[in-house]
Symmetry: C2
Subunit: 449 residues, 2 copies
Amino acid sequence: MLMFVCKQGQPIRLKGFDMNHPATHAQGKPQAIARIRRQYPYNNVVMIGDGITDQEAVEATGGADIFICYGGVVERQNVASRSDWFVRSYDDLMRCLKRYKVAMVGSGAWACAAVRMVAQSTAEAAQSPASCFEPEVTMWVHEEKHSGRNLTEYINEHHENPVYLPGASLGENLIANNDLIETVRGADLIIFCAPHQFMHGICKQLAAAKVVNRGAKAISLTKGMRVRAEGPQLISQMVSRILGIDCSVLMGANIAGDIAREELSEAVIAYTSRDAGVLWQQLFQRPYFAINLLADVPGAEMCGTLKNIVAVGAGMGDGLGIGPNSKASILRQGLSEMRQFCKYISPSVRDDTFFESCGVADVIASCYGGRNRRVAEAWCQRRMAGDQLVSFDDLEKEMLNGQKLQGVLTSDEVQEILEARGWELNFPLFTTINRIIHGEVPPDMILRC
Amino acid sequence: MLMFVCKQGQPIRLKGFDMNHPATHAQGKPQAIARIRRQYPYNNVVMIGDGITDQEAVEATGGADIFICYGGVVERQNVASRSDWFVRSYDDLMRCLKRYKVAMVGSGAWACAAVRMVAQSTAEAAQSPASCFEPEVTMWVHEEKHSGRNLTEYINEHHENPVYLPGASLGENLIANNDLIETVRGADLIIFCAPHQFMHGICKQLAAAKVVNRGAKAISLTKGMRVRAEGPQLISQMVSRILGIDCSVLMGANIAGDIAREELSEAVIAYTSRDAGVLWQQLFQRPYFAINLLADVPGAEMCGTLKNIVAVGAGMGDGLGIGPNSKASILRQGLSEMRQFCKYISPSVRDDTFFESCGVADVIASCYGGRNRRVAEAWCQRRMAGDQLVSFDDLEKEMLNGQKLQGVLTSDEVQEILEARGWELNFPLFTTINRIIHGEVPPDMILRC
């Protein structure tokens, strides 16, 4: 708002004030604040200054809510005495801003790859005094032995999970803890990434221990759903219901190992509260990990869940040695049935969701990479070679090194819903995959449905 | 309508008539015909019979339009004399039914794989006297030399196109012809499957020669569009406009070689007239080739066209050695931009179309198989290895054995539209692919758009 004139060869000279700027006239500051309130959805506006007009801006109707007197340049007693808070340094100001404490529940491959990004973000943000995240991130690890030592100890010493994501540095600011309750205690942002069959028990434990802050926010990276007589319950719904907190979801075409190698990838965060969505985006977004925000939680979450069934089907196709046309038709049919299932269960699900990373991209990535595809391929090859005894359980143990195979479990859960509601004929691919899994029809029926 | 009684140990005995059936009482036959007219959209109903009430059914209001007297069982002079036509044999009847003559314009890999299915269908149908197709199918072949002989002669002798689809028998009922006009003369069903840059000239030639029957129907398998100052013109629109006939399109996840090996595949036929769609479905459907009907011609056709650009992008990604996550994100972004482009150009395009074989499945098949991907991968590898002179034209000649690379041409055409309308920023993937093709940005920008 100050105007300077610079004539060739002459020093810069104050010419006057831009008299159109609201701060240059009486009541200009309250007007500026009113304008800010109109343009942005802020609930509280804090005025920081050292002059009497700064202080007066709090007293006007529609003005600021709080006045902080800053004495770092000049200290005016009459202003300071009427302020809500008097500070002499910038750091004092910054320290009063809320910093969110982040906890991760889960320590599998995807949990480790995800928490690695989060720990990078919080460490990076901590270099700015305005960071809204605590640099330290806690992670609950289901304790097991590795090379004769506790896995948590190994992780805290080497900053790496040698069992589920070997070779990837998780960050020195990541603290592993084998106590679920202590990991989550005091956290403001809770990330759930445990296998879905354990999620109900985890939520119940946390609720019983009363460690989850009111006002904490959750995000679920877990794929799967809970089948109940009254209908399926999504993990985000379960978290919200049991813990009484907002729950977003992060879903996308994310193969853990690739993300850990910082291959360019993308995901969506679907939110109920947009503020929460934006906050989670700040936490997860990395130069190699792009995030779109989406207002469709059930759509994104069901996509992430159902695509594991399609990946099992694609793996069966690969086991049969099919070509790109046939495989593409399995993926297409799978995506169509995912869309149909979503719309049956939750009619508000939007078509846009299927064009996002959590939809078509996740189906493709899981059907060309991913462990469900890999195990189903091996299973199918062994079945076709005459080994009628090989089971998905065996192969899970043999090939996945303790990781869980979500696709087979999800197939059973979804089939329970399809059967209960008489929808099987409308979902020929899902139904055929389930029948192949249970040996009711031969694997090559995948091509005939 | 006859009722029989069978008592244990007794011969079957006529009991009476089902008196509710319209044919058992006076004026019952005209009533039955009226019911048929209500239930089906037939324009003409032909009554065939040998009795006086059969003949009378033509004279009643709303009755049949034509009466054919059949004398194969009993010959009644009073009935025969009042008939429109008198026949003694079933074959005479069948021979009067219209049989459609089919012509294929094009002889590349996909044209050969497609005409092979058509020739199988017409040969198979010809075994039934009720077939609506002439068994013989003609194919226009752009003449060239193969092993010192004319390609048409080779095809007609060996029933195989050794240049573009070696190893696949096209059927003895397929007749190759190097004269476009003679190939199409008298055809009722014309299939267009020539590279899109030649389609305008072909249509103009056919129109000038006046060989296309009024009432003939066309279907386009060609991918591409014609860019004009007033906006893009789809091939189906061009055919309709220049030849004045109905034009459907067949699009889908179809790699020619796989279809020729009868790998299970699927496609859509998008129609303007549903009758035409059903007829084309009869002609193309095979046990290994499933066809869905769709009422969205521009959507299906633009999908088939635009996916070639995405396949070029996917090939570039493969050339850079990216993993499934990154590749899935190229495909996803590609599908999103395809959808957006379709909706900008033709707002009536439906979301459903993208879930069909012509949408997501074709994108996947082309981005994992297909020649656009293959050539773009090689181009990118050579560029990254420092060969700044390699061009798509060179590689087309080197790798495609005379086949045309549609993706690069389509990219230029689409980019012309994007530039003319100022849409480039809304299509970052399409635009980046085009800039990489022209060396304006390095190939790894494909991952940064």
